[in-house]
Symmetry: C2
Subunit: 336 residues, 2 copies
DNA sequence: TTGAAAGCGCTAACAC
DNA sequence: GTGTTAGCGCTTTCAA
């Protein structure tokens, strides 16, 4: 590929071409007041025809208020993340910040790479990180870092905590109140590696135990985090426990895949088998019956994370940042 | 809010602290070879404990290979865009580029603002722009700019063209082949302002005319680009044309909203009313019956746009960049 | 293997 | 209203 990059046109070129100093050009470009309107006009026109564009690097070096944050998500295609992203973009825009987006696919190597990269490229990171090592790296990176799902981690990292325990409790109690006793779980297979405390799976076991309901590990099926993954996991589950009456899924995506498959198998939802999701995705309203779920305000999650990043950028230490918590709310639709 | 920003730690501080020149620090940080391993180790450690992070601005000023592109989309929450974004992120990552994301909500003022902003902040723009003025501004901005939906515009702007004509033709012919003659359209209300040639609406009228099918403007209902918008538009449509047998929608989101509403109204799909979408979103597979649609390879769209941006960054003029076209493919599911 | 000098493109501060 | 000077933090020469 013959690269044919044009040499950069600088403020000096424009200054020379218009016979003024580069300071005056700078004034024109930046809409400063101390400049003759005619001069400004002349300079602006010359700049435009010459193809001048200010260098963000030179500018950033001089001004100290150009802030860019890095948003690290696991998967743009999972509808959970666009909603978080919307919140982050909006909150960042209000502050005049730029947002660079990175996708990790929850891969171990990729998460580490991205954290490294961020350190060089942005002023603060807002990240959804699965792997413990990546979280440690982020926490010790000398850079303001906010976790989008802090889980039960120590206050050494800033982040938003989603109250999965409250959510799980609320959800399972609702299932129990509807008369279900044989409740299975479809877990996210990749969350096994997370090494984080209080995973949804442990909470499920705990809460089930509290209600004296039968569970052991074969009530839990790992599922790939996708529609198809949920569908496949449901089949595996039914092969082991045909008598299950309700399924509690790791998230809505898995729940939807499972519910769809259940209906294809001829089961009635919720009469034969009930489904409870987690996340409150809007696509849960499109399926039949609409998915009952524990709704998380994902937009707010993004906004809170940006607020924490702002505190860190202002000099706060991670352990001084007040904890932000998102409480899942039971959204009763029709699948339970 | 008491801002308490720490003064920046520079390479000079690290140099002084370790008793070497800043050159040597630079070598250590950048993993250059001409440096004593022990010295490197010592420096790296000092840098870490001092909290040193290189300034991207200072670096960017010196090196010329740090590229950032701006991705401008209409709405992160519309599932069309995450797929495009995935393609853009992947292609950009392969090239080592950063991607800054902006959301316009298709608002006129916002689009103009974002184009202005981009000019200062990134090296090239990849954008989904609705409004003519914003497109003109982008095209004349002195900056490499690629449109994600070039439509039938002149070659003065680079961009990917989605062959809506081919798609519309394919779709309508399929409806006709299924025996439909009274086919209505649910148009996107905001595309009215676009002033672009070859809109889906005009294509609908044209192709319907070619088949000698009855149409006039009341067969077209404008819909807000959302599930609820599609639902509302369907009701309006049925109020005017109870005898319609098929609905061709501007896109899948509108089609899904309409189909959902039709079923709530007690209509059978496709027996009483058939639905044809456009875009090929994966959420179309979740509804019942799964939505027949004209599938667009959105990921590829994003990749092609990045490729064009690369050509422009290498010095090509917009009108030299070879045209890239995406052909919609009829995806027959079950709603027709 | 290390250091010194130069300069990337811009704006802030101050002079005129 | 405009120009001059200095310097932001770094990497790239080049010299030692």
């Amino acid at each position: 590929m013959p690269t044919n990059r044009k040499p950069r046109i600088t403020i000096d070129h424009v200054a020379r071409a218009t016979g003024v100093s580069r300071q005056t050009v700078s004034r024109a470009i930046n809409n400063k007041s101390e400049i003759d309107p005619d001069t400004r006009q002349r300079i602006l026109e010359a700049a435009r025809t010459m193809g001048y564009r200010p260098s963000r690097f030179a500018r950033g070096l001089v001004r100290q208020d150009l802030i860019t944050i890095g948003l690290v998500i696991a998967d743009v295609l999972n509808p959970f993340f666009p909603e978080v992203t919307a919140g982050v973009l909006e909150a960042a825009e209000r502050r005049g910040w730029q947002v660079v987006v990175y996708n990790t696919g929850s891969e171990y190597r990729k998460e580490l790479e991205v954290v490294d990269m961020l350190t060089d490229q942005v002023d603060a990171g807002v990240a959804f990180l699965l792997h413990h090592d990546a979280i440690v790296k982020a926490a010790t990176s000398n850079m303001p870092f906010v976790l989008l799902d802090k889980g039960g981690r120590a206050p050494a990292v800033a982040g938003v905590r989603i109250d999965f325990e409250g959510g799980t409790r609320q959800g399972l109690e609702y299932l129990v109140s509807k008369g279900h006793r044989r409740i299975a779980m479809l877990d996210d297979e990749s969350s096994r590696v997370a090494q984080a405390p209080n995973t949804r799976r442990e909470l499920y076991l705990k809460v089930m135990g509290e209600h004296g309901l039968p569970v052991n590990s074969d009530w839990i099926q790992p599922a790939h985090n996708s529609i198809d993954g949920g569908a496949a996991a449901l089949e595996r589950l039914l092969a082991v426990h045909r008598d299950v009456t309700a399924v509690f899924a790791y998230n809505d995506v898995i729940a939807i895949g499972a519910q769809l498959r259940a209906r294809h198998l001829g089961l009635r939802v919720p009469e034969d088998l009930a489904f409870l999701g987690f996340d409150g995705l809007s696509i849960g309203e499109l399926v039949e019956p609409p998915l009952t779920t524990l709704h998380i305000d994902k937009r707010r999650l993004g906004e809170l994370a940006v607020e924490q990043a702002a505190l860190l950028l202002n000099g706060a230490e991670a352990d001084e940042v007040p904890e932000a918590v998102i409480e899942p709310q039971l959204a009763i639709r029709a699948s339970v």
